[in-house]
Symmetry: C2
Subunit: 335 residues, 2 copies
Amino acid sequence: MSGRTTMRDVAKAAGVSPMTVSRALRGDTMVNQKTRDLVRNTAARLGYVYDTTAQAFRSQKSGFVAVTLPSINNANFADTFRGLSETFGDLGLQLLLGSTNYDVEAEEHLVRQLLQRRPEAIILTGGYHTDATQQLVRAANVPIFEIWDLPDNPLGHVVGFSNADAMKPLVQHLAKTGRRKLAFVGASEGTDHRGAERRRGVVDAAQSLGLPDVHIVDAGQAPVSMTQGADAVRALGSTLNDLDALVCVSDPVAFGALSACERMGLQVPKDLAITGFGAFEIASVCVPSITTVRVDAHAIGVRVGDLSLRVFEGQDVGHRMTEDLGSSLQLGETC
Amino acid sequence: MSGRTTMRDVAKAAGVSPMTVSRALRGDTMVNQKTRDLVRNTAARLGYVYDTTAQAFRSQKSGFVAVTLPSINNANFADTFRGLSETFGDLGLQLLLGSTNYDVEAEEHLVRQLLQRRPEAIILTGGYHTDATQQLVRAANVPIFEIWDLPDNPLGHVVGFSNADAMKPLVQHLAKTGRRKLAFVGASEGTDHRGAERRRGVVDAAQSLGLPDVHIVDAGQAPVSMTQGADAVRALGSTLNDLDALVCVSDPVAFGALSACERMGLQVPKDLAITGFGAFEIASVCVPSITTVRVDAHAIGVRVGDLSLRVFEGQDVGHRMTEDLGSSLQLGETC
DNA sequence: CAGCGCCATGGTATCGGTAACAGTAATATC
DNA sequence: GATATTACTGTTACCGATACCATGGCGCTG
C-alpha cells in the first residue's frame, strides 16, 4: 500500500481486471462505453497517474523522438523545434532535446545518451557528424532525419536546403548593385559547418561572377553573437574602407555589424552594404532593415513530422527521402 | 537472437552474470578492475546499448526532470534552460522540456503529460497555475521549483525575483531625468502573468512618485514580438507626442518601439525615452542602446540545479527554499 | 437446438534491467 | 588454527504496464 497508485488499484476499485483498465484508459473502443467511463472515473477519483515508463518498457516503444540542435538560443532553431513539437505532439510522441553547442564531439556524446532512451526516430541538425555518431544512429535501426542541410551522403532522410546555394542570389544581387569587394563575417574555421557552407557559397559565387577574392573575417567561435559581429567589424578598422559589402553568416551578426558601422559613422548602404542570413525578426524590424536569406525554419520541423508519419505507417520504409525546402532572397535596406 | 542486444547477451559473451555486467557498466568499484574492463570491452564489441527505460522502470527513478517554459524562442528562457541543462546534466538527469505558450491551460495539459514520465523534480516557470496543475504537481511528491517569479503561495521551492519590484528603479530613474508621462507597452490582459506584474510595478511606482496615470498600451497576445512592439507604437500616432517615456515589457518590444520611433522621425531619448526588460543582447548592441533591467536568467537555471542537489541529498527536505536573485538597472542611451 | 461469430473481458507471461540478499574465496586478526 | 573480515560474484524476484491467448455470454442462422 506504500507505493503509488497502479492500474491494479484502479482495477480493484472498479471491480474489473487490470487489462480492462489498461484498455479503457487508452480509449480502446473494444471496451464497453459504460465500463470505460467507470474505469476513467475511478482512476480520476484515486488520482491515478499513468506510468508511461512502464508502458514504454513493456511495449518496447519509448514514445520519444531524439533531437539534437546546435543551440537552443537561436530563433531559427527554436522555430524548427516548435514545428517538430507540434507535429510529433499530434502523433503522441515527445521530443527529447539536446544541444550540441556546434560541436560534433558533443553531439556524439549527446547521441549516445539519447539512444539509451530508445527513441523512435532521430533528428540531427546538419549533415556532418563523427564516424562514431554515424555508426550509432545507423545501428539504432530507427528513422533518421538530417535537417538544415543537404548532406552528400545522408544517413537517412533529409529535410533542409543548401546553405551554399542559398548565398548565390545574395552575391548576385550585391554584384548587380555594383558591389565588388566582399567580406564574409563568420565563425572560426571548424566550428559551424553550416556557416562554412555559406562561406563557401559566397566565395564560389564571387569567383564565378569575376569579383575579387572574398575577404574572410573571423568573428570567433560559433555561435557568433551580435556583439562578436560588432567587434569583428570594429576590428577591421580602415580595412573597412576598402570593402563594398559585409556578407554575414547570420542576421544577429549582421545587426551587430550594422550597429558597429553606425557607431563608426559609416552609412549603410551608401558606404557599405550588409547582408545577413535566416530572416530573423530583427532583420525586418531594424533601421535600415537587413537584406537576408529567408529559410522556413518552422516548416523544416513540420515536414520532418509529416515524413515521419509516412515512415511509421510503412509507406516509405527503406526509401530515403530528401526534401529541399530551398531559400529565398529577402531584400532589405542594407543593400 | 531476434531482438536487441541485452545485458544477458553481454554477460554470456563475457562469461559473467548479468548482475556483474550491470555493476561493471555503471562503474561500480566493487567489481574488479579487470572484470570491469572485460565487460566494457565485450559490451562495446557487441554494440550493446544500455536501456535507460528498463533501468528507470526497475529502479523507479526516471532520470528525468520536467521543465515548463512559456516559450522556447526567447533568449532569456533559453539561457535558463541552458543553466538547467548544464547543472542537471552533471547530476545525470535529463530535462524533459515543454512549452506552455504563456497559457496556464496549456501548462496543465503539459504537466499532465510530463508527470506520466515520473520526473524526479518539476520546474515551472511562473507562480501562477490552474488549480488542477497545483494539485497534480503536489501529488507527484517530488521537489517542485517555481522560477522567474516570487509567488505569494509557492508550491515548493522558488528561484526568481520580483517582476514588480524590478520596475521601481527604472521608473525612479525616468522620474529623476524629468520624465513624467509614462506609457507601458505590454501584452493583453490575462496572458503574460510576469508581464502583468511588471505593469503593476510601473503603475505603483509612478503613483508613489506622484506621476500622472500610466498609459497602458496593449500590444497583443504574449509573447509580444518586436513587430508587435513597433506596430503598437505606430498605432499610438499623435498620442506619442504627449508621452515622455515608453516602458516596454521586454527588450524585443523596446527595440521594436525604438525602430518605430526612428521611422517616425522621433528622436530617442530627446523626444521620448524608451526602456526594456531582460538585458537581452540587443539592448546593449543597438543604437541607441536600450536602458533595461538585468536579470541573470542563466543563474536561475544553475541555482535550481544546485538547490535540487541539496534536496536530493536530503539536506533540506520539507524545507521550502526561496531564492530571490533580484535584478538591476542597466542604463543605456535611450533615457 | 446445435453451431458459429462477435463482443467484451480476464489470465498469464514478459519486456531488461537491478534491489536485496546470498554466497565463496582470499586475506587479516586474535 | 579458528574466526572475522574483505573483496568480489552470483541468484532470485520484481518494478507496472500490455501482448497474446483464452473464455464466457449473447444473438443469429439453418
